[in-house]
Symmetry: C2
Subunit: 157 residues, 2 copies
């Protein structure tokens, strides 16, 4: 009601479309975290690990902005839930390397509906269009990562 479906309202305000898109992505992310019984910091750390790769607890603590105590307990929770595993560093036996495990059961089950819908959506595009989309995905990944680093640097003033 009140929204004309037949007329293309998609291009009316590009900024609004993009804001709604970001809100939907974040919304789904939080709903997934709740379904997995994951805390906010836990999901935050998990995203860092998935994006940057294995790292030591010290580096993870620095990136999450946590001190050593909470970092240890954070890794304990993630390890107990089956999302990461602790591995020994061959070079330094003091160090511990935290690495994400490929496909956690809960997260995979929770992400399944979204994965299927996005898969169907992407399947409707031509190869040329998919090339445009994935080019954007790759470039936007760097853009958001740089913006996040910038925010992290600013908050440490």
């Amino acid at each position: 009601m009140g929204e004309p479906v037949s007329t293309p309202a998609l291009r009316s305000d590009a900024s609004e479309v993009y804001r709604r898109y970001l809100s939907a992505v974040m919304l789904h992310g939080h709903a997934s975290a709740k379904a997995c019984e994951l805390g906010a910091t836990d999901l935050y750390a998990l995203n860092i690990l998935q994006l940057t790769g294995p790292m030591t607890p010290g580096e993870l603590g620095t990136r999450t902005g946590l001190t050593t105590g909470p970092t240890t307990r954070l890794i304990d929770r993630l390890e107990q839930a089956g999302y990461v595993r602790r591995a020994a560093d061959p070079g330094d036996r003091r160090k511990v390397i935290v690495e994400p495990i490929g496909e956690p059961a809960d997260l995979d089950r929770v992400m399944a509906p979204a994965r299927q819908r996005i898969g169907e959506l992407l399947g409707g595009y031509s190869p040329e269009q998919l090339e445009v989309l994935f080019d954007y995905f790759a470039r936007a990944t760097d853009a958001y990562q740089e913006a996040a680093d910038q925010l992290r640097a600013k908050s440490a003033d």
Copy 2:
């Protein structure tokens, strides 16, 4: 090591590219929330309000999965931070309508770096390519929203 940099590994696994993209978006979202001193649930509710529009505290509580007590305190925090405002419903004087305020100062300042980078990124595409991208944004918005609703319905079993 073990990763050939000179060969184009970007197109080798599309799923991996998309996962990294989602991780980067979520990562930036959490970093923004931390920079705004917003809790996880606060940002969650804010996204719901931005995506769905004004609603009563009762409906917001249902969507966030919170009971009435925490919902009131949640709205208090958002109102005090300047992100939403309480308005009276002309029809029912019992009801309160929570509506998001257009451009919160902190959130706008925090989102500025990402907005600029994404703006520059989108500026490099042709009109036809932009049409593909924004078509995806609009469709993915619905997909993620439906997936989030599905998750919410499942968790209420």
